[in-house]
C-alpha cells in the first residue's frame, strides 16, 4: 500500500439528506402542523483517496449508512455534491448513473437479504455482468464468475455456480456477496457493516479476505461500522459521525491515540477490550443519541458532553484542523478553533488506559 498514486477517488461536499416525517392522521386531515424533517445527514464533507480504506463510524442514528448510500449514488442528496472521479453524480441522468454504478459496488450486512433466493449463486453473483453486457457468451460468463468464486475462497468455483443461497453457510454467503461486488471490477466498494452478522470465528476470516482483496485489486473501500476495534484493524482513515455530522476525521492511528472530540474519546473508551486485566476508563457520557428531527442547538453533542459550557449551546462548532496535525480535523470549540484556550484538558487519558 504505497502512496505513489494518491489521488482522490470520491469527494463529498457539504452533503445533506433530509427525510420528511410523516404527519399523523389528525394533522393530515386537519392540514395543520409543520412539515418536519429528519436531518439524517447534515452537511458532510470528506475525501477518499484511491486505494485506501476510509471508515465511517458512529452509533445507530448517526447517519453513517445514509452517508454511504449518498456516496455511491443510491440516494440523491437534498443539498451538496458527490463527486466520483471528477464526475458530479447529481448531474447524471438515470442511464448515466446506472453505467457509473458498475464502478461503485455495495456489500450489505445481511447476505441472505442481499441475494435472490431463487437464483443460483452463479447467476446471482454474475447478474451485473449480464446487465452491463460485459460478457459475450454463457461460457465466458460461467468462467468469469467461477474465477471470482475462487478469489473469495469458494473453491472449486465451478462447484458453487449451480448451488443456491440457502444451501451454503452464512460465512460462505457473505463471500458470495463480496464476489458479486468484485466481479464488476469496481473502483470503490461501499461495505456497510459487512461482517456484523457473521460469527466470531468467521468474522476474522472475512475481514482478512477483504484486506487481501483490497491489496490485490487496488480497491478503495468506504467501510461503515459501529465496531471501533474492527475499524482499527482495516481502516487507513476514519470519520466519526454524530447526529448527521462528521465531528472528527483523521488517520486511524492519530484519531485513536489522540482523539480530540469528547465524543470520540468516549466512544473509544467505551469499546470492551477482550482482556480482563484492562480497566475501561470511566465515566461515560450520560444519556443516548437524541433523535434527528430536532437536533440540539449549537454543538449537537452538548447535552451529553462532560466539558460543555454555555458557548456550546449557542454556537455550532465547525470541523477545523487540529493544530500541528496534518489531515486531522475535529469540531469542538475547545479542541480546535477560537476557544482552544478554554480547553479543560482531555476527558479520558487514553494512554494511561492503554498502559494498564
Amino acid at each position: 500500500m504505497s502512496d505513489h498514486n494518491s489521488s482522490t477517488i470520491l469527494r463529498l461536499q457539504k452533503v445533506k439528506k433530509y427525510f420528511p416525517v410523516k404527519r399523523d392522521l389528525l394533522q393530515q386531515i386537519m392540514r395543520v402542523g409543520e412539515q418536519q424533517y429528519v436531518h439524517a445527514v447534515d452537511g458532510v464533507s470528506f475525501e477518499i483517496e484511491q486505494g485506501k480504506v476510509f471508515g465511517l463510524v458512529g452509533e445507530s442514528g448517526s447517519g453513517k449508512s445514509t452517508t454511504g448510500r449518498l456516496a455511491v449514488g443510491l440516494l440523491e442528496p437534498t443539498e451538496g455534491e458527490v463527486i466520483f472521479e471528477d464526475v458530479h453524480l447529481n448531474n447524471l441522468s438515470g442511464e448515466e448513473l446506472r453505467k457509473m454504478r458498475r464502478y461503485m459496488q455495495v456489500i450489505f450486512q445481511d447476505p441472505m437479504a442481499s441475494m435472490n433466493p431463487r437464483m443460483s449463486l452463479g447467476e446471482g453473483v454474475g447478474h451485473g455482468l449480464k446487465i452491463h453486457r460485459l460478457v459475450n457468451s454463457q461460457q465466458e460468463f460461467r468462467h468469469r464468475v467461477s474465477e471470482i468464486f475462487e478469489k473469495v475462497g469458494l473453491t472449486p468455483g465451478d462447484a458453487y455456480f449451480d448451488r443456491y443461497p440457502h444451501q451454503i453457510s452464512g460465512g460462505q454467503r457473505q463471500r458470495a456477496v463480496i464476489a458479486r461486488a468484485l466481479v464488476m471490477q469496481p473502483k470503490l466498494i461501499l461495505a456497510d457493516e459487512p461482517i456484523a452478522m457473521a460469527d466470531v470465528s468467521v468474522k476474522a476470516i472475512l475481514l482478512d479476505l477483504m484486506v487481501q482483496l483490497q491489496r490485490e485489486f487496488g480497491l478503495t473501500y468506504l467501510f461503515i461500522t459501529h465496531d471501533l476495534a474492527t475499524a482499527k484493524y482495516i481502516c487507513d482513515r476514519i470519520a466519526i459521525m454524530y447526529l448527521g455530522e462528521i465531528i472528527e476525521v483523521g488517520d486511524i492511528r492519530t484519531v485513536y491515540t489522540n482523539p480530540k472530540h469528547p465524543y470520540t474519546e468516549a466512544l473509544l473508551a467505551a469499546v470492551p477490550v477482550p482482556d480482563p486485566r484492562f480497566r475501561r476508563p470511566a465515566p461515560m457520557p450520560r444519556g443516548e443519541i437524541p433523535n434527528a428531527i430536532n437536533p440540539p442547538s449549537g454543538c449537537r453533542f452538548h447535552p451529553r458532553c462532560p466539558i460543555a459550557q454555555d458557548i456550546c449551546k449557542t454556537e455550532h462548532p465547525r470541523l477545523l484542523d487540529v493544530p500541528g496535525q496534518a489531515g486531522h480535523m475535529a469540531a469542538c470549540h475547545f479542541r480546535t478553533g477560537d476557544y482552544i484556550h478554554l480547553d479543560p484538558g482531555p476527558l479520558i487519558n487514553m494512554n494511561v488506559a492503554m498502559a494498564e
Partner: protein, 357 residues
Amino acid sequence: MSLFQVVPDHSQVNKQEIILSIRDLSVEYQTRRGVLSAIDTLSLDLYKGEVLGLVGESGSGKSTLGKAIMRMIPSPGRITKGQLIFKNQDLMAYDENQMRDVRGKQISMIFQDPMTSLNPVQRIDNHIIEAIRVHEPNISKDEALARSESLMERLGIGRRRLKEYPHQLSGGMRQRVMIGLALALKANIIIADEATTSLDVIVEAQFLDLLRELKEEFGLTILLVTHNIGIVAELADRVAVMYAGRLAEVANVDELFHNPKHPYTQGLLRSVPNIAIDSQDLYRMDGTPPNLVMPPSGCRFHPRCPHVMDICHQKQPWLVRVDEIGEGDEQVGGYDKHLASCWLHQEYQGATQARRY
C-alpha cells in the same frame, strides 16, 4: 498466580455456595432431518454472587442452556436428561405451577430485545407493580409502586418516565426496566442473554457499569450469555466456553484469557479485533461450526482443530482439571478450578485418572 498484575476481584463470590448446579443436561430438537443435539450431557455450577460468562458462537447452545435453566425450551425441543439443582431442589421435578414461581421471581431472564419482553400497551409502572403483586400477593398497590419508584430511581429512570409506555423509552432505558423487574422481585439469578447486543457502544458501557454496581449492591448472581468476549472480559468472574453443545473450557476470567487450554478458546481469543492492540494479526480459524444433526465424532471441534490427533476422531474428551493439582486437592470441580475438554490435556494427566466433572 503472582504472575498476574491484576487479579479479578472475587470478593463478592461465595466460593462455597453453589446456587445452581446443572448436571448431565441434554437438550434435543426434533427436526425433519433428524434429532439435533443442542446440548450434550453438560454439567456446570453457578456460585452465589458470581458473574459467569457463557460464551459461544451461534449454534453453540449457549442460549438454549439459558432457556433450559428456566425450563422454557420451545417445542419441538426438549430436555431429554439431566438435573437442575436449585437451592437443593431439582427443578426438573417441578410441575408447571411450581416453575411459574421460579421464573421471574427466583430466576429472571433479560433478552436482547426488551421490546419483545414488555407489553406495549402497559405503562412501565404497571408492569413492575403487576409483576411484584403476582409473586407477592400480600403487598398493596401503593407499596409496590413505592418499591418500583425507588428501584427505578436507582437505575436512573425518573418518576415521570414510569408513567410512559415501552415504545417511548430508548433501548438502554428499556433494558434498565428489565433489570428493574428482576430486582423488584429480588431474583436470585439473572440470566442475561445477549442483553447488550442491540445497544450502542456508549449505552452498552453505561449498562455494564450499572450491572457491576448492582451486582455488588444486591449480591446478584448473573449468567452472562454472550458472543462478545470483550463484555465477558469486562464483567465476568468466571467463564464457560461452549462449542457445539458441549463445554470446551471453564476457568476464572484471568486464567481463561491469559492461559487458555482448549484450542477452540485459544483460536477464539486470537480471532477478535482488539482495540488496545496495534497492528494485530488476526487468527483465522478453519471451517465453520458443525451441523448438530450429524455432529462430528469424538471431539466435536476436531474438524477445525489445528492440533487434531487420531484419538480426537474416536473418543469424546472429558472435561477435566488442567491446572496444577496440589496435594490434598483432589476435590472435583470447585470455583477456582480450570477445566478443559481436550485430548491434549487428558494425555498428560493420564487418561485413566481423568475424572469427569
